[in-house]
Amino acid sequence: MKKISLAILLLASLHAVAQTTVNSGMFGMLEARQLGPGTMSGRITSIVGVNSDTKVIYVGTAGGGIWKSTNAGTSFRPIFDKYCQSIGAIGISQKKPATIYVGTGESNMRNSVSIGNGMYKTTDAGDNWKFIGLDSTEHISKVIVHPNNDQIVYVAVPGPLWSDSRHRGLYKSVNGGESWEKILYKDEKTGCAELLMDPKNPDILYAAMWQFRRQPFSFNSGGEGSGMFKSTDGGASWKEITNGLPAKPFGRIAMALAPSDPKKMWAIVESKSTGLYISEDGGESWKNQSATMNVCARPFYFSTFEVDPKDAKRVYRPGYEFSYSDDGGYSFSGASGDGGWVHSDMHALWINPDNTNLLYLGTDGGVYKSIDKGITWTFTHSLPVGQFYHVAYDLQKPYRVYGGLQDNGSWMAPSAAPGGISNAHWSRVGGGDGFWTIPDADGQTVYSEYQGGNMSRVNLQNMKSEEIQPKQTSQEEKLRWNWNTPLVTGAKNSKNLYTGAQYLYRSVNQGRDWTRISGDLTTNNKDKQKQEESGGLSADNTSAENHCTIFTIAESPLDANMIWVGTDDGNIQYTTDGGKTWKNTASAYAAAGIPAGTWVSSIEPSHFDKNTVYATFENHMYGDHATYLGKSTDMGHSWTRIKHNDFTGFAHKICEDPVNKNLLFLGTEMGLFATLDGGNHWLRMKNNIPEYALVRDIKIHPETHDLIVGTHGRGIFIVDDISVMRNLTAEIWEKDVYLFPTAAMTLNNGQYGWGGPEVSGGWWAGNPPSNPSIDYYLKERLNTGSAEISIYDANHTLIQTMPGSKRKGINKVYWNLRGLPPKVAEGSTKMDGAGFTAPMVLPGTYTIELKIKDQIYTSKVQCVHDADNKDLSAADRTLVYNKAMQLQQLYNNINADVDTIQYYKTKLKADSNSKVNKAMLADIEKIRAELMATKQTSIFADEEKLREKTSKLYGSFCSMEAKPNDIQLKAIEALDEEYKQLNKKLKATLEKHLPKLNL
């Protein structure tokens, strides 16, 4: 009985699923364009290649998943888009290289580092992945697979950065990840950050333990837990190594051994006197070696040290910069600048074991390749893994996007460009770590900033910039600027420019003057303001730990005097009088179940009601990864927490659609989500956007209705025109088929022009469609029956029929605004362009008929003259159309004559020995050779006869967007005349020969 009731429950739940609800699949066709940039990439965390096929390389990134190249780095494609995008380490079984283990969660423990959700495995070189546990580890620094057994794998887990955890340590699996054993563990504060295996004796392992911790306002690297360990029995037992090492406590230790002579070892040991240590006896004893600043700099962040696989004297230290040694680490030299700048801050290096001159380097700004052992480097322009913090748009046509990248400055690019958006379209507008990059409404100015509130006004005409950051006055405390200081313009009054330290500032003259419009809006907790002491064993205080600061500012789109401010220490305050008085609503959101003191990551005052406001909160810096989204409908007096089972990742941004108040988008550390019903049901956006993308910012363009998404690891995505999401109501999604109204189509050859020949290399994003699509909804995928769209004019004459797509949810079909091309006669020797084009239709109302199986659904579409085109009046358009149709008729006549000739040729050839047949064949073939090109044998030989000339002119008129000139019009007459003569000749020839024949 129990079984039955369970089964009924199950059926009921299945039934609930079977009822149509909004889901990700419905919007699959709204495919996002990934804009890049590739010209500036992002942080790379791991690079590994396949020893037996060194063309195959895997690149793990800080927030952009894994990219695979099968051609030694000429091109890459993402292979991990359905999973966590922060990659800690990749381990390949070199014996069975299709088996790869991936540890998610980067271990370069900077303030902005993301988190992972465990281990994944593929056995088919990245096509399919399986989750294999260790889900609470958050950060993984090394994965090593046993060289002779792909089932044995070791995973070094530093573990959580922001909280205690018993999930730290060194793990081993002997069954391919089915189960894990923790083989080295210290305590809840100390993880395993480094792991080496002796390639000649895989039972010899070296591990470095690391005690570390971040708080929102400080960092500590080092402690009694840190230390160096060795095992000679595959990790069953360990001994600590101290001989020759400095006095404890240690911080992070980076280690390496020489694959060709594994007793030779190197270690950079962070301690009170951080230094390089060298061992000649398999780590039993160590000697200190003096080393450059670069070798020892920032050990918590630079933990990579590599040795040439064949030459134990060639040693590499990718760190703050790139250093190499030819004498086993006694002296170091730096990479040459020839060939261009190499991005600083390096975390990964793979050396091709077959050709050790060939190196791949992973930096904070992408992948570089060297063919001379690291002396010079070439940048890889095709990895769009930039880490944006924010995005913005302007109102240019096409509009431009703006944003700041982690460690890679501030950038802008057009959302569309002739030929599409390539690397060359990106321009840099600011340096440092880039954050808010905001265009001014004047179209000529952009505000950009780098870490700690350093902000400038940039003149886009000459790219000169003026520093505009407000300064401390004598009546004020030292200003506290967040690492990612807000810099925003007003949603109601775009002339208002806001920024905030602990106080809020407003400028009405582009940052030339500022008015402080608040007191200290933070908790001003002095215990959280000791940043000078941050770093632990190595001082590290780069404004990344600044705290008790304003983090988010939002002016109401309905009232410029209503301003909301959120702080990193949990205050959410607003004013309704332009800053004279402020009200703190922190206690109100805490009552809704959102932890007090939580970082307020975004605030979205509603476009529809002044009392309504949304906010996201994130608490990951206290070890809490829950998705906190709040809504208030009474101006912050009370809050409701909006929850959903599908949410993953801590929340960065909530965005309300300015047209449909029930359409909201939520961006988290692990995904982009949308709701169509004001927050009751949510779906994960998957349309060409990685399912667990680190979404930092979301904007909706007010004119193009594009969704603009800034990610921290995959650059910027644009979902062009989301109107269909606004229009999809419950009433529609219950229908089997629904044809949406189609927006008016402007008659032109596209908006963006020709961009020259194809871009050679680099990242490239296509343009948005030039015209609206014909959209329809299918409740289920169409597996049987066809889908077809036909267009008819006002007289119900068929203009064109197009195949329709058949996917579940929204389908989009694009009409080229033209009718059917003419038929081409048989016997051509070269492709004739006329067979692929037709004149653009004239303005008017057209009927769209969607045929799904045998059902027909109709709607209308307006095709309108392009009034922006001053070269073509409405009257010119009609003239061009009529002339194109005249040429099409001429073309058809020529082809009809050719077909006639072909007809007789076939007949005559049946008896080709006949003299009369031969005579006629020769005569008509002569005419055919005047009607069309018959001789050319190469595509590089242009033979032009009447048909080719007609085809060319027809093509010109079909694509013409200007008034035709006199000569073009006269040329039509000349072709007409030529045809008349040939046609007369053909008729005369037929009359001459046919009576003599018996056909």
């Binding site: 369970l6 199950l10 995928r781 597996n783 033209r818 492709m831 067979g835």
Partner: protein, 233 residues
């Protein structure tokens, strides 16, 4: 308590989802497409089809003897080209691209294209061809939660199929081909399934890299002139 029941449900449904084995799925698929017996009666096929793009039409005729030879004739804008594949050789003549006579396929291409010579649904013959089937779980394909099955042949060549659990028809197939030093993925999508006189269910729309091919006529087991499988120029 409610939580417990819910989690039990979740566990149960998870088990149901994973209880499917590759064999079960393949069996259901074969029944859905007309049964192995009907498929195995096919010796030859002539397929007339067309590809429409922006109003222009490309006509295609594919003539094939099962596991022996295949020829595809392509007519575009008054020009005619073809492609031939046999068990030992292959040729292409594409005058549209400027070719003036048939050019041979590389040995690698001939070898990796041999699967094309089979007229039967891959799942009807995979065992006798020595291929291994693996169920990879559910996968969202354009909004449809599909069953994903992979076939791996003796040479390690992999083809992945997305099967719609509502009909058990294949709706997408991705073949990974390593040839001529490069790795290429060939993607096909299938729809407009129709049952034909011979009892098999066949997709009359095949989507590929060059647009959708719509089949207009399918002739099974007619006599085929084998001289077609030699290049004529």
């Amino acid at each position: 308590m409610k939580k417990l029941i819910l989690s039990l449900c979740a566990v149960l449904s998870l088990q149901l989802a994973f209880a499917q084995t590759a064999d079960e799925i393949i069996n259901k698929h074969i029944i859905a497409i007309g049964g192995a017996e009907n498929w195995k009666k096919i010796n030859s096929m002539v397929m007339d089809a067309s590809i429409k793009a922006q109003g222009a039409e490309i006509k295609v005729t594919r003539t094939q003897i099962h596991n022996k030879a295949m020829r595809m004739d392509i007519a575009v804008a008054g020009m005619n080209g073809y492609q031939i594949l046999t068990q030992t050789a292959g040729w292409g003549y594409m005058p549209f691209a400027g070719q003036t006579k048939a050019e041979p396929m590389t040995a690698d291409d001939v070898k990796t294209s041999q699967d094309e010579l089979s007229l039967l649904d891959e799942f009807v013959t995979y065992k006798e061809m020595g291929k291994k089937a693996e169920y990879l779980g559910k996968d969202d394909l354009d909004g449809t939660e599909c069953l994903k099955v992979k076939l791996t042949d003796k040479d390690g060549q992999e083809t992945t199929f997305w099967i719609d659990p509502a009909t058990f028809y294949t709706i997408k197939q991705v073949q990974k081909v390593k040839a001529n030093g490069k790795e290429v993925e060939s993607v096909s999508t299938y729809s407009n399934y129709k049952k034909i006189d011979e009892g098999i269910v066949y997709p009359f729309s095949i989507g590929g890299d060059n647009g959708d091919i719509e089949i207009t006529k399918l002739t099974i087991n007619s006599t085929i002139d084998e001289s077609l499988f030699k290049p004529s120029n």
